[in-house]
């Protein structure tokens, strides 16, 4: 029975990637130092609920900086918060859709975790280093990407179909765009983000 389930899932996954394309593009963030840290994502696919990955996502605190600055995750994903500095760090969120949380402080090498169960943006702060800031963006599909400094992004293996492509940036915004993903190949969608 187990073997049958495994074969079915493998076939399903294979079939899905057989008829899947990539969304690529470039984002331009007006009046920003660079075009990094824009999350581009398909907000939802009607009738589909995606299981969160077993593997935890990771956000580190190193040299008094959250790494990465922006972390998109699928709803239900658990994020492990590391401390790679030999100074105490804290993680708290004043606006997490799951409710405010505060993980306290912890020493170098110790990991604390939090599961983001609701979609939305959580601001993460460290209450011993007020300049530190990061964002976890929990979305309803596994089809998301974060732009690099040049603004490039790629969302791979998106099932063919018509979707609404959203963008999020901490200071700028752009209107969603409808995208039609082909069964094979890529579709290009560019965004220009302006002041909120």
């Amino acid at each position: 029975m187990k073997r049958l389930v495994f074969i079915s899932f493998t076939l399903l996954a294979f079939t899905a990637t057989m008829f899947a394309g990539d969304i690529v593009g470039k984002v331009k963030v007006q009046r920003a130092k660079n075009n990094a840290n824009v999350v581009v994502y398909i907000d939802k696919i009607e009738g589909k609920v995606f299981e969160p990955p077993e593997k935890h996502a990771v956000m580190d605190q190193k040299n008094l900086v959250f790494i990465p600055h922006v972390l998109p995750v699928l709803v239900g994903t658990t994020v492990d918060f590391l401390n790679s500095d030999d100074v105490l760090h804290n993680v708290f969120s004043p606006d997490c859709p799951d409710g405010k949380f505060n993980l306290g402080t912890w020493a170098k090498g110790i990991v604390k975790s939090f599961t983001f169960k609701k979609p939305g943006v959580s601001t993460l702060l460290c209450n011993v280093h007020p300049e530190m800031e990061a964002f976890v963006v929990a979305v309803r599909t596994p089809y998301f990407a974060v732009s690099d400094e040049e603004g490039n992004y790629t969302i791979k293996d998106v099932p063919a179909g018509k979707y609404t492509l959203m963008v999020w940036h901490e200071k700028r915004k752009a209107k969603p765009q409808v995208v039609e993903v082909p069964e094979k190949g890529t579709v290009t969608v560019n965004f220009e983000l302006k002041r909120k």
Binding site: L64, D86, L88, A107, N127, H129, E131
Partner: protein
């Protein structure tokens, strides 16, 4: 020509005197160097939090050798690392801060003395009811590190003192053997209070009390100091110590004998005195929280020249500093024995107790009680006692307003009430 005339006019118009003040220890240049907020090191500037003390104890460096990784400036090399292999045939390599380590701290005040004024003679002597004292003080601060073993801190300070400008330029330079051992040369002091970086306008009585020849603990001394710190068991709390030899008075000593002092503290619980994260962590945290009890003791012995024949002073005391969540309670006591040939010995005592509470990280009220008995063996004059309530409001991490009332409780000083509204900022 015009420039020199202008300078001459300014100099002629002001009485310049050199002062040896306590070095300020809120240096915005560090915020630039590490790209971090003031509150990384400060409970509320200039008062240090536990991490700020560990940073200072490490010779103005991040603990555990992390400084090169955490600093965000681009240090200027004064010789490549490989020159260490060539020594002694080359100068040992070092680096200096990539950003000029200069900062500015400005203080202005509005003073209101309800019982003063109304008397022409008194007003001529400065006893007015109210005055805008803007500026009161301007400091150009500098601090940083030179390579792995040298650190420094200093300031150029101008301060209004009854319409005369006092001028000071204290500094120290320190050789940092490692995180635990340092030798400091320059302006040093035994730091008689657990909280010498005070939040109030009024200085602590313990530090301000003067001997019969006008010496006081508050003035920094010119000399040399061995200082050290280390973490306690499990990386928590720990010890600090200072042992120094100083002039006692002035940049050029007023007499041939040198003064000596020592101070030691032991901290129970809380962040280690030289930092690190071993044994640390809690479910809640804040930059102003570090649950611990620190006990300290100090000793000073010296000779003071002045209006009277040379005065031998022996000063000793102790202090207590309790941090519990949002509350800090601390206090210090100082005893001074003054011996002058052909005069009766004088024994003096001063102590204070203070509590401050963080309502919000930007709103901290405090109250201090001070008791000073200039001559414990004499019935008169009565001891001087006072109450100092204050409210500090941090508008921004580097901008602060303080409302403070000095309320004398003894009869001799009962008309010396004073309200101060103080604004200060740094950048």
């Amino acid at each position: 020509m015009k420039k020199s005339l202008l300078i001459s006019a300014v100099v002629l118009g002001l009485f310049m005197s050199v002062i040896l003040t306590q070095s300020a220890q809120a240096i915005p240049a560090f915020a630039r160097k590490y790209r971090t907020s003031c509150s990384t090191c400060h409970y509320e500037f200039p008062k240090l939090n536990a991490f700020g003390k560990a940073f200072l104890n490490n010779g103005l460096r991040y603990p555990e050798g992390q400084d090169p990784d955490i600093r965000k400036d681009n240090p200027v090399s004064l010789g490549s690392e490989a020159y260490k292999k060539v020594w002694p045939d080359a100068i040992w390599p070092a680096d200096i801060d990539g950003l000029v380590p200069l900062s500015v701290h400005a203080v202005g005040r509005f003073n209101y003395a309800p019982e003063a004024g109304g008397d022409e003679e008194e007003e001529e002597e400065g006893g007015v009811k109210s005055t805008f004292e803007f500026p009161h003080e301007l400091e150009v601060l500098y601090a940083g590190t030179i390579g792995e073993n040298v650190s420094f801190m200093g300031e150029i300070e101008m301060e209004n003192e009854d319409n005369e400008i006092e001028f000071g330029f204290p500094f120290w330079v320190q050789w940092d053997f490692n995180a635990n051992w340092h030798v400091r040369l320059g302006n040093v002091s035994p730091d008689p209070t657990p909280d010498h970086l005070r939040l109030t306008r009024n200085h602590y009585n313990v530090a301000s009390f003067r001997s019969r020849n006008r010496w006081r603990l508050r003035d920094q001394q010119s000399g040399i100091e061995l200082r050290g710190a280390g973490n306690g068991a499990g990386g928590r709390g720990g010890y600090t110590f200072q042992v120094g030899v100083v002039n006692g008075q002035g940049i050029n000593d007023a007499n041939s004998s040198k003064d000596i002092y020592a101070r030691a503290t032991y901290k129970i619980g809380g962040l280690g005195e030289v930092g690190g994260t071993q044994g640390q962590g809690s479910e809640t945290s804040a930059f102003y929280v570090d649950n611990n009890l620190r006990l300290g003791g100090f000793f000073y012995k010296g000779t003071v020249s002045g209006a009277n024949p040379d005065e031998d002073i022996t000063v000793f005391g102790g202090d207590l500093d309790l941090w519990f969540n949002r509350l800090i309670v601390n206090g210090a006591a100082m005893f001074m024995k003054s011996e002058i040939p052909d005069m009766a010995d004088r024994n003096s005592m001063a102590w204070y107790a203070q509590a401050n509470y963080v309502i919000y990280p930007w709103l901290i009220p405090l109250v201090r009680y001070e008791y000073t008995d200039a001559d414990t063996d004499a019935d008169t004059p009565d001891p001087q006692t006072s109450l100092i309530p204050a409210l500090t409001v941090v508008l921004r991490a580097n901008v602060k307003i303080t409302a403070e009332y000095f309320l004398p409780l003894d009869d001799a000083h009962k008309d010396a009430d004073q309200l101060t509204l103080q604004a200060q900022f740094g950048f």
